[in-house]
């Protein structure tokens, strides 16, 4: 049962990065769009994510519940030592979720929009940035549980070049996902505008990815040997690179679903390469006493009931979610045909 729980944990993290990430990306893209094109971008984005945007963020809750029920020691260690970036991420989540609703549900469209929109855009940037920092700090062995002073215990655990570079990389991934997603959604005369955007985000992802390796080298983190030292990890990274190249050439063709699948596949491969090399360790500590999904799991009965709850839950959730996405996709195509 423990492996069922681990698969659910990994999948919810992946789906949060993909769906929640595309959602954050919508705000990030808005930030990097000239004033003149903003309303067009915004409208297309809203039509695309509107019905499912709440559901996209549920994956984070599922992941966090799995952590505190199944792996309480891991949840509490991260909560204590990464308190500050977690709070920053939470502030981003609050600001973004509420600003999104406020700007779409304010009955009067007036100057208050000038308050909501920047909050929405900047929190869309901040949230995945800190998410990336938290993820990087967990796996880079910077958390020092024996630290005596405030700075080394609660600040330097996450404030270092490697974590920051992964934060930037996560932001670029979100922007990339959003542009790939939006291409399928855009009206014909806007397509070339969004294709251009997608190209630029692909370059940005490649650049930020390289930056992560530079930062890792600078911080003496053996990232390269973690990822390339292992056949499966290496295969995953090669697969991710190939899919990126294919996507680059597919951008012009009208194959939105294939593009989205490739983008999803690519991110899944990156996450796989990043997590596989340490498995079953998930939080690496400075003193080497790493926290493992297998040795730090909760008591058997807790894991069993959690596994059943997740299996039963997914019987309800997945078909409903699939139908939601399907029906709004289909309605949109019917509308366009008319």
């Amino acid at each position: 049962m423990i492996y069922v729980v681990i698969v659910f944990l990994w999948t919810s993290i992946l789906l949060y990065i993909l769906l929640g990430g595309a959602d954050f990306g919508a705000g990030i893209i808005e930030l990097f769009t000239s004033k003149g094109n903003r309303s067009k971008t915004r409208k297309t984005m809203y039509e695309a994510i509107g019905p499912i945007w709440e559901a996209n963020h549920m994956w984070l809750i599922i992941a966090i519940v799995i952590l505190f029920v199944g792996f309480p020691k891991i949840y509490t260690t991260v909560s204590i030592y990464l308190h500050i970036p977690l709070v920053c991420m939470l502030l981003g989540i609050i600001a973004r979720g509420t600003a999104f609703v406020f700007r779409n549900y304010d009955a009067v469209k007036d100057d208050m929009q000038k308050v909501y929109t920047p909050i929405f855009i900047y929190s869309s940037l901040i949230t995945p940035f800190f998410l990336g920092i938290i993820a990087a700090s967990s796996v880079s062995g910077q958390i020092d549980v024996q630290a005596q002073d405030f700075l080394s215990a609660y600040v330097f655990s996450w404030l270092n070049w490697f974590s920051v570079s992964v934060g930037v990389f996560t932001v670029s991934i979100c922007g990339f996902l959003a542009t790939i997603f939006i291409i399928g959604q855009a009206a014909d005369d806007d397509r070339s505008f969004f294709i251009g955007k997608a190209r630029r985000t692909i370059y940005t992802v490649m650049f930020c990815g390289a930056l992560v390796f530079v930062a890792a080298y600078h911080e003496n983190i053996p990232l390269a040997s973690w990822i390339f030292g292992d056949t499966l990890g290496l295969t995953a990274i090669i697969a991710a690179s190939i899919s990126l190249i294919i996507m680059f050439f597919l951008l012009q063709r009208k194959k939105p679903i294939l593009l989205r699948l490739l983008a999803g596949f690519q991110v899944a491969m990156i996450l796989f390469a990043a997590t596989y090399s340490h498995f079953p360790d998930i939080v690496l500590l400075k003193n080497g006493a790493n926290l493992s999904l297998l040795t730090h799991q909760g008591q058997a009965k807790a894991i069993d009931t959690l596994g059943y709850a997740l299996l039963i839950g997914s019987i309800f959730i997945l078909p409903a979610l699939g139908y939601l996405i399907y029906i709004f996709q289909q309605k949109k195509e019917v509308q366009e045909a008319h």
Partner: protein, 442 residues
């Protein structure tokens, strides 16, 4: 500010904020579905207008409730890591199920909000009902987790270790039923009265009267029926608390001395040093009767509780008095409303009844917060009753006061913006929703 106090205040503030949004988010969908049902049955456009207006409210409250809930799932670990390390696996069952219920709610809401003219009308209606039911289920499950803190079950506590855990037993602990019932009914009372009060104000001002009258009636019926059921659920809760947590009951009642024929103490100022309550109304024997079913039954006082295990008396007592007092006021208004509906139809058109509802607008939510204060403060100094002290559960990280100031600022600004949004939704009813006032009736 001391870190421990800051952590408690931050948690209290976050929950106090979340509880309002969560309650509205789980009850409003039922009002909305009733209005929607009338629209589908009678084809009177005003019901469709009410449904659409309310669905906007649901969207705003659901989103705010969802983000504040997400924050809470992290705050449990950020503020109380020692608690979560031990409690997580034991009381996690309701949380994992709540994840599902909440997810379903979000999906159903996606269908509902974007489904007008796109889905089969009855399927569309059903998705609205699903929003309500799954929201209510989420609420019940979260309360089951809180009940576990009051009535820990499903593990053996041996030498400081939590052994042989059983998450199912933990979920169905002794307190879950009475707490979940009381909380769910409270959500209907407070949301019903709040919504009815707002519409009553608009009727009194003569704005879109038909629209607001239909909306008022649906909300008022929900709120008043729930208000009359609440004393029954309160009675179940009181008996349960007396049995399980005598310290909490003693603090609620400011009942210092164990005695038979114990009086019910109404109001008053508890004097902890001299162990007495000044200026209170005392009804002899009633507390014994209410908790044991016998006027001569023994009720444990604070004197049998060791000093270090006693909850703060004054806060718990005042909060309890506020809750019961407001609850009774709402029962009174509910009874007047029922008389008006059945016997005195002319009252329904009178201003005084509307004014009563307007005055009662915040009562339900004040009572809700007070009741929640009773259950949380009354459990102190324990975070897991009788097992772990709150002070031992707090995070080792210093400087929580800053985090408290930050979150307080955020929640206050959110409350202000949400109020502004609601104010605008309500004042724009004539333009956005009420089609009957613009078009000639056909």
């Amino acid at each position: 500010m001391d870190d421990f106090l800051a952590a408690r205040l931050q948690m209290a503030f976050s929950l106090g904020f979340h509880i309002v949004f969560a309650c509205i988010g789980m009850v409003m969908p039922f009002f909305m579905s009733v209005a929607h049902f009338y629209w589908l049955k009678t084809k009177k456009v005003v019901y469709k207008d009410v449904t659409k207006a309310w669905s906007k409210g649901v969207a705003i409250f659901f989103a705010t409730g969802a983000v504040s809930g997400t924050v809470l799932s992290f705050e449990l670990g950020l503020l109380w890591p020692t608690f979560m390390e031990h409690a997580g696996p034991i009381f996690g069952m309701p949380f994992s199920l709540e994840g599902t219920a909440f997810f379903i709610e979000a999906i159903a809401l996606g269908f509902y909000l974007y489904g007008w003219d796109k889905l089969n009308p009855w399927f569309h209606w059903v998705t609205g009902v699903v929003v309500g039911i799954s929201g209510l289920l989420s609420g019940i499950l979260v309360v089951a987790a809180n009940a576990w803190m009051n009535s820990p079950a499903g593990f053996d506590f041996v030498d400081g270790k939590y052994l042989d855990i059983d998450p199912i037993k933990a979920m169905f602990n002794d307190a879950w039923f009475s707490q979940a019932l009381h909380m769910s009914v409270a959500a209907f009372v407070s949301t019903g009265f709040a919504v009815a009060g707002v519409h009553a104000l608009m009727i009194l001002r003569g704005r879109n009267v038909l629209f607001h009258s239909k909306a008022f009636k649906i909300a008022a019926v929900f709120g008043t029926v729930a208000a009359c059921l609440q004393p029954i659920s309160g009675d179940i809760s009181a008996k349960d608390v007396a049995h399980r947590q005598p310290a909490k009951l003693a603090a609620m009642e400011a009942h210092f001395h164990t005695e038979r024929n114990a009086p019910l103490i109404i109001g008053g100022i508890p004097d902890t040093a001299n162990k007495r309550v000044d200026y209170a109304i005392k009804i002899p024997g009633l507390l014994s009767f209410m908790t044991t079913g016998n006027f001569n039954g023994e009720v444990k006082g604070l004197d049998v509780i060791p000093k270090e295990d006693q909850p703060p008396v004054a806060v718990t007592h005042y909060a309890f008095q506020i809750m019961v007092g407001l609850g009774m006021a709402m029962v009174f208004i509910a009874l007047l409303y029922f008389i008006a509906l059945w016997k005195k139809r002319q009252w329904l058109n009178s201003n005084w009844l509307l004014k009563l509802f307007i005055i009662a607008t915040p009562m339900g939510f004040i009572a809700l917060e007070a009741g929640w204060t009773v259950t949380e403060v009354g459990r102190q100094p324990w975070i897991i009753y009788g097992v772990m002290r709150t002070v031992d559960a707090a995070t080792p990280m210093p400087g929580i006061a800053y985090s408290f100031y930050l979150f307080t600022g955020v929640y206050i600004s959110l409350a202000i913006i949400v109020s502004l949004l609601l104010y605008r939704q309500i004042t724009m009813v004539g333009k956005l929703y009420d089609s009957t006032s613009k078009l000639p009736k056909n």
